[in-house]
């Protein structure tokens, strides 16, 4: 089944490769991946949409959690969340079909962001279901190019916080250095 996995990571170079590598190492395909800074510029959030049975996903979540640069991982699948994706659609359009296309655009509360004599470009945001439905209706027209951001997701109420390292330092803020910062005990 499809899983929506939200990963908070340190905003370091190479982190994306570490996360993506865990998926590929298990022969596990990523359907979509969206990455961006959070309210804290030192923390990024990745939203990964992937297919897999629960067992594999559980294992991947655990492995993700083991990565040193990963602050927090949560499987948002089946939770009360808001999911959105932004898509740009370029359609070959002319005077004869422009109105039909605009009808679809209005129905889905999408926006036309560019028009020229041969084509028009539509911007639409929404859940995967909405996007798929709209693309289905536009398919009979001359679809020239589709660019999707990949889904992002956010829980409606709670800030994600488990299973987290460091007792829920998931809010994205640079955690204060605890007074009892662990000494590196060796020797």
């Amino acid at each position: 089944m499809q899983h929506t996995i939200s990963v908070l990571v340190e905003n370091h170079f190479g982190v994306l490769a570490r996360v993506a590598g865990l998926f590929s190492a298990r022969g596990f395909n990523i359907d979509s991946l969206a990455v961006g800074e959070t309210q804290d510029s030192q923390v990024s959030r990745m939203t990964v949409i992937a297919q897999g049975d629960d067992r594999i996903v559980e294992q991947i979540m655990k492995q993700l959690n083991k990565l040193v640069d990963v602050i927090c991982v949560e499987d948002l699948t089946g939770k009360d969340i808001i999911e959105r994706e932004l898509v740009l659609i370029k359609i070959g359009a002319n005077a004869t079909n422009r109105n039909d296309i605009m009808h679809v655009v209005n129905t889905f509360r999408a926006k036309i962001v560019d028009v020229n004599p041969e084509s028009m470009t539509i911007e639409v945001t929404g859940s995967e279901g909405k996007i798929d439905a709209m693309l289905e209706l536009l398919r009979p027209f001359n679809l020239r190019e589709v660019v999707r951001t990949g889904q992002i997701a956010m829980a409606r109420r709670n800030v994600i916080k488990s299973p987290c390292k460091a007792g829920g330092k998931a809010k994205g803020g640079r955690g204060p250095k605890p007074a009892a910062a662990k000494k590196n005990k060796k020797k």
């Binding site: 570490r18 655990k62 020797k187």
Partner: protein, 561 residues
């Protein structure tokens, strides 16, 4: 105080308590080697970077302190890959510092440039590329912290040459804080799980303890021994767990798994409660996963949540350091000897009926005989390091380990050639101990170039080569499963004259071909002050038994010994 990146790096190693580093120099690591020249840290010059990583690994496993290697970029960095993967699979704290081309040239296919960060990403616990000289001290500190805490593992630091030459103020970071890495944070619900475990153990009638290398890493030998002493529950170990509990003790079931004892495997398969401690249900341990311990409720104590329910579903997961969990569990368990009397009797019968054994090879030398005698003559106190293959399994079966950190072997990756360099590292880490290396003629030849290191540094390792002229484990499988078609496994005709070879390095060589020569040879080797190689021409087509063929349940045992 203004120092160069290289000076800071070496200063940090000194502050971390590093006494030895393993490696060899080259282009972009020269500034670092130049500083090392004046350091009190001793450089152990190896002949190959794979040897350097295995030495650092053996050093760490034997001593419990992290092993460090410093090598250059490109081919040197790629040569560390096998050693890092070996350390990663067995959770060994190794710090590997690789040189890198100047930061401005990274990504340009410069001379001796490889993306070692990308290459080692899946085989290190973590890795770093230092791009700014101001990050050197913090990076080294974090690398040691990550390598040695939680579930330990190798950490690689890629060190560009311009960063090693750049200058900055040296500030030693006293504290390490990595917000996304909190290995000591306790998982929620551990206390409840421990109580559940105690309850299961209380109600069990056929309990069995299954202990792995995690218990040794955690330093939990006292707790494991106390647990067995208090409860009377029999204990089996994985190959990496050997020595956590004395194999000479009546409660020991010895090693389980593909080449484990009958009674260990029967005990696991017939148990009603299986207590897995610092072990990860490797396929060489479980046999057919679907048929593993079919009647057992499984308790699993492990520091790595990802090890839990990875291959075998467990009933009571306890994510915790082994030592801490056992300390909390101990007061909650009682003496079970009376309650499990019929179970103990059954196990005693299995022990009686199916002991470990090997056929008498007459005048010829059975490899098990050599290893058994080495065990006797070292009073089971030596640190034993092996290569990979038949000799490794025979060592696990016949040495009889009684103390932790005394069996160093590549259990997870199965790296042939691990033996000699790891033994050198172990000896340097534990100079007062007797270090025995048991190798096969095939495995030995993969890294025998490090004989030069043993000779030059006068590292007194005692190497016993079980020479049967085959890749023996391959031959065994071909005999059993491939109609005795020995494709690629016959190496006798390709072997060198080992005595001439070690002679060329100025190392004492002893060659034995008859059973009666074995004990005097072992005694002579043990009495010799420097390194020594004992070539044992053993009975050639012996097989390792008992054996559970791949895909079979753990109690479907082949035994023709």
């Amino acid at each position: 105080m203004k120092l160069t990146g290289a000076q800071i790096l070496i200063r940090c190693l000194e502050k971390e308590g590093v006494k030895h580093v393993f490696g060899l120099p080259g282009g972009v690591i020269l500034p670092t080697y130049d500083v090392l020249y004046d350091s009190k840290i001793k450089l152990i010059l190896t002949k190959h970077e794979q040897g350097a990583t295995h030495m650092a690994d053996g050093y760490a496993r034997a001593s419990g302190r992290p092993g460090v290697c410093i090598v250059t970029s490109g081919p040197a960095a790629t040569n560390t890959v096998t050693g890092l993967a070996t350390a990663y699979m067995d959770s060994v704290p190794v710090i590997c510092i690789t040189g890198q081309v100047v930061t401005s040239a990274i990504g340009s296919d410069a001379f001796q440039e490889v993306d070692i960060i990308g290459i080692t990403r899946p085989i290190t616990k973590h890795n770093f590329l230092i791009k700014d000289v101001r990050d050197v001290a913090r990076t080294v500190r974090e690398a040691f912290h990550i390598a040695t805490t939680g579930k330990p593992g190798p950490v690689l630091i890629d060190f560009p040459v311009d960063v090693s030459r750049a200058v900055t103020d040296f500030v030693w970071p006293e504290d390490v804080f990595i917000r996304s890495y909190q290995p000591d944070a306790e998982a929620p619900g551990v206390e409840d799980r421990i109580r559940e475990a105690a309850e299961l153990i209380r109600s069990s009638r056929q309990p069995c303890l299954y202990v792995g290398g995690g218990a040794i890493i955690s330093g939990a030998e006292k707790q494991v021994r106390e647990f067995v002493k208090k409860t009377g529950i029999p204990v089996t170990t994985t190959i990496l767990g050997l020595g956590i509990f004395p194999e000479t003790h009546p409660s020991s079931l010895r090693m389980l798994g593909m080449h484990g004892t009958h009674y260990a495997n029967y005990s696991v398969q017939n148990s009603d409660v299986l207590i897995a401690v610092g072990a990860r249900f490797d396929d060489r341990v479980t046999g057919n996963v679907a048929k593993f311990a079919p009647h057992a409720k499984i308790i699993h104590i492990d520091i790595d949540p990802a090890s839990i329910s990875k291959t075998i579903r467990v009933d009571v997961p306890i994510v915790s350091d082994v030592k801490k969990a056992l300390e909390r569990l101990l007061p909650m368990v009682d003496d079970k000897r009376d309650a499990i009397q019929p179970w103990l009797k059954r196990i005693a019968e299995w022990k009686q009926k199916f002991p470990l054994k090997y056929a008498d090879a007459g005048n010829k030398i059975h490899p098990s005989y050599v290893i058994e005698q080495i065990g006797e003559l070292t009073d089971h106190q030596a640190i034993v390091v092996t290569g990979v293959g038949q000799h490794q399994m025979w060592t696990a079966q016949w040495y009889k380990f009684v103390k932790p950190r005394s069996m160093l072997t590549s259990g997870g990756l199965g790296t042939m050639g691990y033996g000699l360099p790891a033994a050198i590292g172990a000896q340097l880490g534990m100079p007062k101990e007797t270090v025995i290396c048991i190798e096969g003629d095939g495995s030995f030849q993969m890294t025998m170039t490090e004989l030069a290191t043993a000779a030059f540094e006068k590292v007194p390792v005692k190497v016993f080569i079980m020479d049967n002229g085959y890749y023996g484990m391959v031959r065994q499988w071909q005999q059993l499963f491939y109609k005795q078609r020995y494709s690629g496994s016959v190496i006798g005709p390709t072997n060198p004259d080992f005595m001439k070879l070690v002679g060329a390095y100025g190392i004492l060589g002893i060659k034995v071909g008859q059973k009666k020569e074995v004990i005097p040879a072992i005694k002579k080797a043990l009495a010799h002050k420097g390194p020594v190689i004992v070539q044992c021409k053993v009975s050639r087509e012996e097989n390792v038994y008992p054996m559970v063929a791949a895909g079979n349940a753990l109690d479907q045992i082949m035994d023709m010994a």
